[in-house]
Amino acid sequence: MNELGFDPSLKKKKKVKKEASEEAPSMKEEDMFAGLKKKKKSKKVDEKTDEKIDDFDKSLKDLSIDDSSKSDVTDFDKELEKAGLDEIKKEETKSNQELGGLPYNALLSRFFQILKANNPELAGSRSGPKFRIPPPVCQREGSKKTLFANVQEIATVLQRNPEHLIQYLFAELGTSGSIDGEKRLVLRGKFQPKQMESVLRRYIIEYVTCKTCKSMNTELKRESANRLHFLSCNSCGSTRSVSSIKAGFQAQIGKRKKAVI
């Protein structure tokens, strides 16, 4: 924060100096002009110079306004929002070059500090609030079954129909199961939470994330016309088709069926 406090003042000082330096030569020019013109022509020239001075003042005001907007944090941030990150960096470098001094790294860190303080979503892609998926809770029920307690919770976080998720789990794990009274999923077979997590991760990649913008704010729709499932992104608006869940081959386990004679 020391840097934060320190840097703008530096900037402002430099700007003041700059303005002064700008003023000085131009005023001299004006004076010179006025003097020259005064020598040649008397009254009209005076009016003209006055006008010129007015113009100059206006331009100066404009300049000062620009400066204030740049130094003003909120306005600056708004501008940053409009412009991309890269442009900001360019601006920073430009101003740096203009001002001479103030190392790029310091400016960059200051910029990111301000950005994080005011709109943390823009600073750093992963630092902001993110979708949090609760870890799957797996309990053993008896020796051959697994209780997957928080399917409903996970499905609501992913904005998916729990049945769709359960169907995927059955197909992927090659088992069957049922939902008990408290809406928990009972799976046949022994599964560790770690294993469930990897399957969930695959489900999220295939049926939840938007491939274009990587956001998880998506919707799964079923088009009745062609019986295809479509994934539409709520943040970027893109849609992609998604394959339906197929169970595939299931090997015969346990007792073989007796051949009907």
Binding site: E172, G174, T175, G189, F249, A251
Partner: protein
């Protein structure tokens, strides 16, 4: 340099071939739990031009497991192997049979 670049026969909108030209010929490698710690690996969707019997023979020797070929009405012939051989089978299919890796889908946990 004298040739006109625009007249080259290149259609930017033509199918590149690698997108979703043949969506159906995926090879699915699945795992199923049996009683206890035992598992079963199934390989479904191998191209028909391969002799499954010969492949199975090599696999059985390489992976030191038993296996057999199951004929399914809808899915054709499926290789069944004892134990969790998913990673090994996938590698085998890529290295020995030169099957593209993107066509192989490994399911299960």
């Amino acid at each position: 340099m004298s040739t006109i670049q625009n007249l080259n026969a290149f259609d930017p909108f033509a199918d590149t071939g690698d997108s979703e030209a043949q969506p159906t010929n995926y090879i699915h490698i699945r795992i199923q739990q049996r009683n206890g710690r035992k598992t079963l690996t199934t390989v479904q969707g191998l191209p028909e031009e391969y002799d499954l019997k010969k492949i199975l023979k090599v696999i059985k020797k390489d992976f030191a497991c038993n296996g057999n070929i199951v004929k399914d009405d809808e899915l054709g012939e499926v290789i069944q192997l004892q134990g969790d051989q998913r990673g090994k089978v996938g590698e085998f299919l890529v290295s020995q049979l030169q099957l593209p890796k993107k066509n192989i889908k490994i399911h299960g946990f």
